[in-house]
Point group: C2
């Protein structure tokens, strides 16, 4: 954190050096990102990402959308970039990135979004994404369940302060759960470690990764977590 | 640049590794930034910046404003963050960062901007900033002249496609000119190296630094530039 002298912000463990949360998904058919936070360019350079066929948004908070314009590098060949978001999030994206959505810039190579409002499960290649609307304080955020060939591979819940029973039912027994766990201490808009563990137990995921972790939770805290429960870190790669 | 295999993008010279353009100004009375681009958090962490008393904007393109929310770390103590911008840029900031300007978020520690519309020279501590409106393609961008004790210390023109005579007159004989020089080849919204050199010759600056440089202009190109003309790099520090 800017201007912070705590031991996590000055940790020698590179995994304690964290950028904004997002995921990049590669499938045999296509590749896509979930969220383009402020660090998107830095992350794309670090991982040498060469292809983004679509972007899916969880919500419109700054740490999830402010790198959107850097998608221009990936939309240029096709001429447009498919954007998947809830109606509310799309409205915010259209307001913030007015120049892109209104195609105000005539220069070639600029980002031209192709909006897709999410109203239920949708497919990107042969992956089905099921939106998982969850509370994030007073707002609503889309998590996503990723299914292929009928297998529940991944549930991604980056920002939530709770997981309602109807969402738990959709993702019960998922292979991998990636879930918000900001810190040990409760927070009004994010799950704490204890709350995230309680959700994971209900979901009975085979493995669980904490994301959106703040500097109050060092990577070393993983040692005290249950078996198959981990703290995710920047650059972590998972195979399915 | 994302997904680029050119020799500058893979240069062993760390100065060829460039984030978005901005400057941080420290004076005996106060400290401020000009622009908070998408990389602002990364830059603030790298330079261990502990104090930002105000932010001044040149214009509202994404590479100059998308790190704005990360100023929250600096406004918390005072309770608000003074924001200086032209009326047009402020309108864009208010649209993009609606939640901050409308104080929609009640949590402590969130960014609370205090807008100051720039209509002429203004003071930050004992530094006078004179706006220098210059064309940037079809739009208008504010450069700034920084004066202390009547001395013209610095003219900062980060984004311009030309420098009109009336602006040249304001900054002639400035100590240090920092000026847009995207690359050798002409560009519709940025000065080329040749155009920037021609402007610098008219201004008769004691020293000149090129900024907003793209991957078509390596740091090594500095060797071919006139005496006292340099290519700026990330982390460059100048004393006045």
């Amino acid at each position: 954190m800017i201007g912070c002298d705590c031991h996590v912000c000055h940790s020698p463990d590179p995994r304690d050096n964290r950028l904004r949360s997002s995921i990049y998904v590669e499938t045999p058919e296509c590749s896509f990102v979930v969220d383009t936070g402020t660090d998107f360019r830095t992350q794309a350079l670090r991982e040498n990402i060469r292809n983004v066929d679509a972007v899916v948004f969880t919500h419109s908070h700054t740490d999830h959308v402010m790198g959107f314009d850097d998608l221009r590098r990936f939309g240029a060949a096709r001429g447009y970039m498919p954007v998947y978001a809830s109606a509310e999030t799309m409205r915010d994206l259209e307001r913030v990135y007015e120049f892109a959505f209104k195609a105000l810039n005539p220069f070639p190579g600029y980002l031209k979004p192709e909006p897709h409002i999410i109203e239920g499960p949708f497919a990107l290649g042969q992956t089905t994404l099921t939106p998982l609307p969850v509370p994030h304080g007073d707002s609503k955020v889309n998590g996503y369940l990723f299914t292929r060939d009928g297998r529940k591979l991944l549930a991604y819940l980056s920002d939530c302060s709770g997981v309602p029973d109807e969402i738990t039912k959709l993702i019960v027994d998922v292979d991998t759960l990636v879930i918000d766990a900001l810190r040990e201490k409760p927070h009004p808009t994010h799950l704490s470690v204890g709350e995230a563990l309680e959700v994971a137990a209900r979901i009975r995921s085979s493995q669980t990764f904490f994301t959106h972790v703040c500097h109050e939770l060092p990577q070393s805290a993983e040692a005290a977590l249950p078996l198959n429960t981990h703290i995710a870190y920047d650059g972590l790669k998972l195979d399915f």
